[in-house]
Amino acid sequence: MDNVVRILFNSLQTGAVYALAALGIVLIFRAGKVTNFAQGMIGTFNAYVAAVFFRWLGWSIWAAVPIALVTAFITGVVIDKIFIRPAQNSKPMHKQIITLGIIMILTGIIPFIFGVDPIRLGRFFPTGGVDILGTTLRFNTMFTVALSVALMGAIFWFIQYTRWGLAIRVTASNKVTSQLMGVPTNTVTMMAWATAAMLGALAGIIIAPQSSVNPTFMLDVQVSAFFAAVFGGLQTFFGPVFAAFIIALARNSAMFYLSDIWGNAIVYILILLFLYFKPYGLFGEAPVEKV
């Protein structure tokens, strides 16, 4: 019983991380038709910022994280302004390659600013927890999961019930028409990039204490977030978030009960089979193709 509970708690945390990253990917995909391969790298870059303030300058994590979120916001805006907007009339494929270029640029910049050694980042609550059914639920896990869920809830509310959320939804559904209707689509896309960068940075900050901040520590998050986005279906904002938690739970259970090496692969194969029968994900629908 305590194993089940422990797997559940772990999955909640990793699921929250994947969900944050996946939501960022979906936001950018919907607002600008860009498949953002750089989501993980942008998160890594800004997790470095938090780690530098935390470790080198000795700030409290509570002060370092907001600064990292601000730099993430700036990163998102800069990337959109410099690289994405000039390419807004390019094909989706070309925009994907541009995000690949962004990965290379950030990978090149990181050793210059932050050095080559991995930096450790602390938890929000280093100690303490509650015993539930024989397993310790850390305060840190509780806090990060609550924060992620609250944040994602706020974003869903924002998209669904505010004027700007409406702008995001119409931009996602048809960019040209919404431009004609007076929606500032450029600003919407820029905000999508900024928000996605912040979500990525937060995902990085939450997962960082499990290993350390280094150039490749978010690779797994990046790949899993993609999987969640497709498994959930990119046509909804809600689907990928839901799928992220499912993937985390399935992977953790498979790794515990079946095989710690092959757990990942087994879950991937299952999802592949699922996608064969429902190619547009759990909640997605096949787009109508016009000739």
Binding site: I98, L100, N264, L275
Partner: protein, 351 residues
């Protein structure tokens, strides 16, 4: 006067000869490229530089497969690196089992056909980003297999000296042998260029093109979508696996951890930067995306080469969305402008 006209006539015949016969262009290109094999022998070029060119050729071959998917059929695959790894590791295993080289290559190609068909069937229903992520699943599963299955042996598979055609031994630590392997790589690349060109000018090539514009329209015109999708994936997989075989042949060892998403993305960048639907574009793309950063930028800029490589890719995509291969007219124009400037200066100096 007559001499001049004679020379222009011969020049024109040569140009038309090559324009009418693309295979002759490819062979000429291969011959020109093979000069690189002799440069280290006479001490003009370092052996490591030749190795970079070898890797460019290997990537070019894999890029042809990806080009067929991406440029001609509008299918995107992120599993190319996994297939290259499959070719390299597969040939390593077969050779270590004691099979002759030729049999091992045949077995690798056969397994490429099987895997390609499997992915082709798997991909039948999805499009665009969904298809890309489907292949990313395959890539991750392959990576897991390479790093965790015992027969792939931990960090790398050592192959050592290879024996081809029943008796010719080639060892990469012998520099003359290494140049011979380099020539073999070029020969394979030229053959693949010719095959690729013939393929895209054939009935199948037209079917791929029709499919890339609109799946439904192509189906309405009588193109069997399932057949050609599977076909495209099989060819792409076999090309990538051949690239892996050549990698194993040149480096004579196959690492297990090198076949990641990063490499797949790099290959994607090569195809896009070089130019869809073009033959020489693939080599140009591999040269620009992999060759220029490793050959020149690293020497000039040192640690920042990665930043410049990223910027380079972005600039190419922004300014030459059709691929660098179409930059020819612009370069000509720029060249004429520069020449014009010099001429003007001469004139003013004369005055």
């Amino acid at each position: 006067m007559t001499e001049k006209t004679n020379s222009t006539i011969t020049k024109n015949t040569i140009i038309t000869f090559f324009k009418e016969r693309p295979w002759a262009q490819y062979i000429l290109f291969g011959v020109l490229l093979s000069s690189i094999a002799f440069l280290p022998q006479i001490g003009v070029m370092r052996n490591s530089t030749m190795s970079i060119f070898a890797l460019i050729i290997i990537y070019t071959i894999a890029a042809f497969g990806l080009n067929l998917l991406l440029g001609f059929s509008a299918l995107i695959s992120l599993a190319t690196a996994g297939f290259i790894g499959g070719g390299a590791l597969g040939i390593g295993i077969f050779l270590n089992m004691g099979l002759p080289f030729e049999v091992a290559v045949l077995l690798v190609i056969l397994s490429g056909i099987v895997i390609g068909a499997f992915i082709g069937i798997l991909s039948l229903k999805s499009q665009g980003i969904y298809l890309a992520i489907t292949t990313l699943f395959v890539q991750e599963i392959l990576r897991q297999i390479y790093t965790s299955v015992g027969i792939f042996g931990g960090e790398r598979i050592d192959i050592g000296t290879i024996t081809i055609l029943g008796g010719i031994e080639l060892n990469r630590f012998n520099f003359a042998h290494r140049s011979i392997i380099f020539l073999i790589l070029i020969a394979v690349m030229v053959i693949i260029m010719i095959i690729f060109r013939n393929l895209i000018k054939s009935r199948s090539g037209r079917a791929f093109m029709a499919m890339s514009r609109s799946k439904s329209a192509a189906a309405a015109m009588g193109v069997n979508i399932m057949k050609y999708r599977v076909y495209a994936f099989i060819i792409a997989t076999v090309f990538a696996m051949l690239a892996g075989v050549l990698y194993a042949m040149y480096y004579q060892s196959a690492p297990t951890r090198a076949w990641t998403l990063d490499l797949s993305l790099l290959l994607l960048a090569m195809v896009v930067a070089g130019g869809f639907k073009s033959v020489f574009g693939m080599f140009l793309g591999a040269f620009v995306v992999y060759g220029i950063p490793t050959l020149f930028l690293e020497d000039i800029f040192g640690d920042v080469s990665e930043i410049f490589a990223g910027l380079l890719i972005i600039l190419v995509v922004l300014f030459y969305p059709q691929g660098l291969i179409h930059s020819g007219p612009d370069i000509k124009k720029g060249f004429k402008k520069i020449v014009g400037l010099f001429r003007k200066k001469e004139v003013t100096q004369d005055e």
